[in-house]
């Protein structure tokens, strides 16, 4: 195979890998935010605490997608 073909193939695989890495965190953030909204609707007086915890949950979940994004550039 030519050198350019291998480079193009590596790029394509990296894009697919990033797409795969985004699936899990996408579902996860959806669950986190959805449940936080339910909680806030049930107990509006706790909204501040719930929002802080929600951001924490998002931050932890999001890390996997971001590692995939970084690997996309490294690969």
């Amino acid at each position: 195979m030519l050198e350019g073909d291998i480079e193009a193939l590596k790029g394509a695989i990296a894009i697919i890998g990033y797409g795969l890495a985004a699936i899990g965190p996408g579902i996860g953030i959806g669950i986190v935010v959805g449940n936080a909204i339910t909680a806030m609707a049930r107990q509006p007086e706790m909204a501040g605490t719930i929002r802080t915890t929600m951001f924490l949950g998002i931050a932890f979940t999001e890390a996997l997608a971001l590692i995939g994004f970084v690997l996309f550039f490294i690969a």
């Binding site: 501040g48 802080t52 951001f55 924490l56 931050a59 890390a63 971001l66 590692i67 994004f69 550039f73």
Partner: protein, 271 residues
């Protein structure tokens, strides 16, 4: 115009978006602006010190005259400081959080200013999109929470992490390994990568969309009606621009919040 690196390479006749040929060009400004003795100052280092001076300036001018009724600018600065003190330090760490308020305030304001450089006209470069800066800040947090953990709990901090007593004995070694790797390796790594990757992603999107928009619109004489492709790119770029302001503030908040959570887990280490 050195930001629009795509301009020289982009084939506006055949392409619909101007993707950069080599992404590394976006992140490596190695040319030295000016040098002090043997030390060359690049754009990143210059903006790094500029961010530090901006933070000091904000605090100095915001808190210079403490009056009963502060000025509008003073109110903004005071509410920011109150936010870090009450909503982050006191809420997360508890009453002992007062000791860590100066550190948390410093990193919050520094990251906030550094992130907002991304959407500041004429600068348009988030210093936190260089791995060295988030990595350094994450290492400082790491050193603090490890030292606090060992200082308060002596070696129980390490032993109870690798041999947690509240877990059934069959699983203890597995949980111990996971906890050890997660606390001492993954925490600082993800803390740094989270900030870095968010800012890189934002910077990349802005460069791609606004750059493509400008290039297509300015090459109207050569390609005629196809130049209209630039309009949706530019509009989308402006929408992302607003979104990036939110992301900048949110990432500064999350970095500070997670630092506080990690310090809290060392202060109240109960296993």
């Amino acid at each position: 115009m050195d930001q629009l690196i795509l301009a020289t390479e982009c084939d506006v006749v055949n392409e619909v978006i101007c993707a950069p040929d080599d992404v590394k060009e976006l992140f490596e400004f190695t040319e030295v602006i000016f040098s002090i003795g043997p030390i060359g100052v690049t754009k990143t280092i210059f903006l790094f010190f500029l961010a530090a001076f901006v933070v000091v300036g904000l605090l100095y001018f915001g808190l210079r005259k403490r009056r009963m009724v502060p000025s509008k600018f003073g109110v903004v600065i005071e509410s920011l400081l109150d936010f870090v003190k009450n909503d982050i330090a006191k809420d997360i760490i508890g009453p002992e959080g007062a000791r860590y308020v100066p550190y948390l305030t410093a990193i919050f304001l520094f990251i906030l200013v550094g992130n907002l450089f991304e959407v500041t006209p004429l600068i348009n470069f988030p210093i936190t999109a260089r791995m060295a800066i988030p990595a350094f800040l994450a290492i400082v947090t790491y050193v603090i929470f490890v030292f606090v953990g060992f200082g308060r709990n002596k070696f129980r901090f390490l032993f109870d992490t690798v041999w947690p007593k509240h877990v059934p004995i069959g699983l203890r070694w597995l949980v111990g390994i996971i906890e050890l790797v997660s606390i001492f390796l993954l925490r600082p790594f993800t803390l740094a990568v989270r900030l870095f990757a968010n800012m890189v992603a934002g910077h990349l999107m802005l460069t791609l969309l606004l750059g493509s928009g400008v290039i297509f619109l300015t090459s109207f004489p050569e390609i005629g009606a196809k130049a209209l492709v630039g309009i949706p790119w530019f509009v989308l770029g402006l929408a992302i621009y607003l979104f990036e302001i939110v992301v900048s503030v949110l990432q500064a908040y999350i970095f500070t919040l997670l630092s506080a959570v990690y310090i809290q887990s060392s202060v109240h280490f109960e296993h």
